[in-house]
Amino acid sequence: MIRRLSLIGAFLCSLFLGGDMATAARPIVVDLAQHLVAVSTGFSGAGMLMFGAMDGSGDVVMVVRGPPEDVTVRKKKRIAGIYLNRQAETFSGAPSYYRVLSSRPLEEVAPPNLWRKLQVLPSNLFLRADGKMLPSDSFKDAFLRKKEQAGLYGCCVDPIFLMGNRLFRADMFLPTNAPIGAYRVEVYLIDDGKVVSAETTPLLLSKVGASADIFLFAQEQGALYGLLAILGALFCGWFAGWVFQRR
């Protein structure tokens, strides 16, 4: 909850920054080629096309956030010659997926303190562990590193293409391990080191077809699902035995 508030705070803050230039407020509009990504049995990742229009010059920065999750980070320590998990911190409400796209390298677009305010760049995320405002650096670093290794966190790899200071478009690839749930795409128009406009749009990753049916069935009819799983396994095992006997 606190986490959400801080997100909203960051967002309001960005609007306020935009308000700095209220007289010259320049709208930005953004849309996705599809707001619903269907995760079916053959899902092997999905390409996302994001496009939009803006008024006048500037740079575009996009942040894609996955649904929040709680993650425990454990650290191994050597005790009497063996390695054991000794310390742990639980990060609550951290985005399960996080990716930043920009039209130019971030350091050329604005000074670092703006990125800190907007929580752009994984290292600028406000992460809280076990209720503490500031988690230990080593645990936060490990968390970000692990997420990056899993391809779930990333920055500044995919470019945003600007066309005649009017239109922009970006391609992004959602990996196969992208978490299911509600995503949010934040778009900032930045000119002269300041946010002049901001917009968000939702993105939903949802299971469809057989994979959704199986998931729902498992959740709602656990006993029946379990029985079917066992009967199916018994049958397959018996059938294999029968086939091999005949040969």
């Binding site: 990742g45 390695y83 490990a142 379990g226 397959c236 294999a240």
Partner: protein, 303 residues
């Protein structure tokens, strides 16, 4: 061949799972073990969340044990009476074990204790088996006549409720397999292992012939894993049918090949191989504890 797993919520290579299922199925058929001790770590390694990996591997083992069981059944290698007593004890034991786990957890440091107990147990069983079976191979070579079956404990013959187990050629107390079942059930609940300890226990404690042990243990494994799969599905919703199905397609075929291979081997050869397998697993666990990890940190999604 990417296939999206609905419960694990990730996409995997279907062919890889088929191959892995096949390989573990062969082991299962030869030794009469479930193979969960190999399958679960493999699934976790490719990124399947551990509760889903455990539950789905259990479901797959139901299939591979039935597949191996049909072959052993035809060859008359299953002692149903013994198996039934073991299953009854096993289910009682797992109830005790589940409660024991929560008690130990309240004391703290349960994970370390379990891991040490596991290593000691496997190391002890593995070395004993290796020594015994190698010795009996040499004895046979020298032409010394073998006493039937290893391990003879005279105190066991004084226990009440004696029963005749014709398939195993034993006349022992019914309490023995029942109590062994209870101990194994506790082990399953506490450590998540069964076959790899059960097979040596049946050979050395009960004194059953090795071939009958393999078939009977497959029966035991089938009953226990079917029960566990059901409980996992009801309580945790963590059984991934798609994952289990991919694994079992490979493993039912592997188990057939394995069961055929197994019946070609002599009892003591089978025991040497199993002893080596147990020692490998044990060595790997020790290595995992003492080797400097590549990464000191690990992540686990809580919710």
């Amino acid at each position: 061949m990417p296939i999206y797993l609905p419960i694990a919520e990730m996409s995997v290579n279907g062919l890889l799972l088929l191959g892995m299922g096949g390989a573990i199925g062969v082991l299962s058929g030869v030794f009469g073990i479930g193979g969960g001790f190999l399958m679960t770590p493999f699934l976790i390694f490719i990124g399947v969340p551990s509760p889903v990996a455990v539950a789905s591997a259990t479901n797959q083992i139901v299939a591979s044990s039935v597949s191996g069981l049909t072959t052993h059944w035809r060859r008359g290698n299953v002692d149903l009476r013994m198996g039934g007593l073991l299953v009854a004890g096993g289910l009682t034991g797992s109830l005790i074990g589940v409660n024991l786990v929560s008690f130990l957890r309240s004391l703290g440091q349960i994970d370390v204790t379990i891991r040490f107990a596991y290593i000691l147990l496997l190391g002890f069983i593995g070395s004993l088996m290796l020594i015994e079976s190698v010795r009996s191979i040499f004895k046979r070579r020298r032409g010394v006549s073998m006493s039937r079956g290893p391990g003879r404990h005279s105190w066991m013959h004084g226990m009440p409720f004696k029963m005749r187990f014709r398939k195993s050629g034993l006349y022992i107390s019914a309490l023995l397999p029942f109590c062994l079942g209870i101990m194994m059930g506790i082990l399953v609940a506490v450590m998540g292992i069964s076959g790899i300890v059960m097979v040596p226990a049946m050979i050395y404690i009960l004194g059953m012939p090795t071939q009958i042990v393999v078939g009977t243990n497959l029966f035991y494994v089938m009953c226990v894993t079917a029960t566990t799969t059901f409980l996992q599905a009801v309580m945790n919703q963590s059984v991934d049918i798609a994952l289990a199905f991919l694994l079992l397609l490979g493993s039912v075929i592997g188990a057939q090949i394995g069961a055929r291979l197994g019946t070609k081997l002599k009892g003591e050869q089978l025991r040497v191989l199993l002893a080596l397998l147990v020692l490998c697993v044990c060595g790997n666990l020790v290595f995992g504890l003492i080797a400097t990890p590549e990464d000191f940190f690990s992540l686990e999604i809580v919710r």
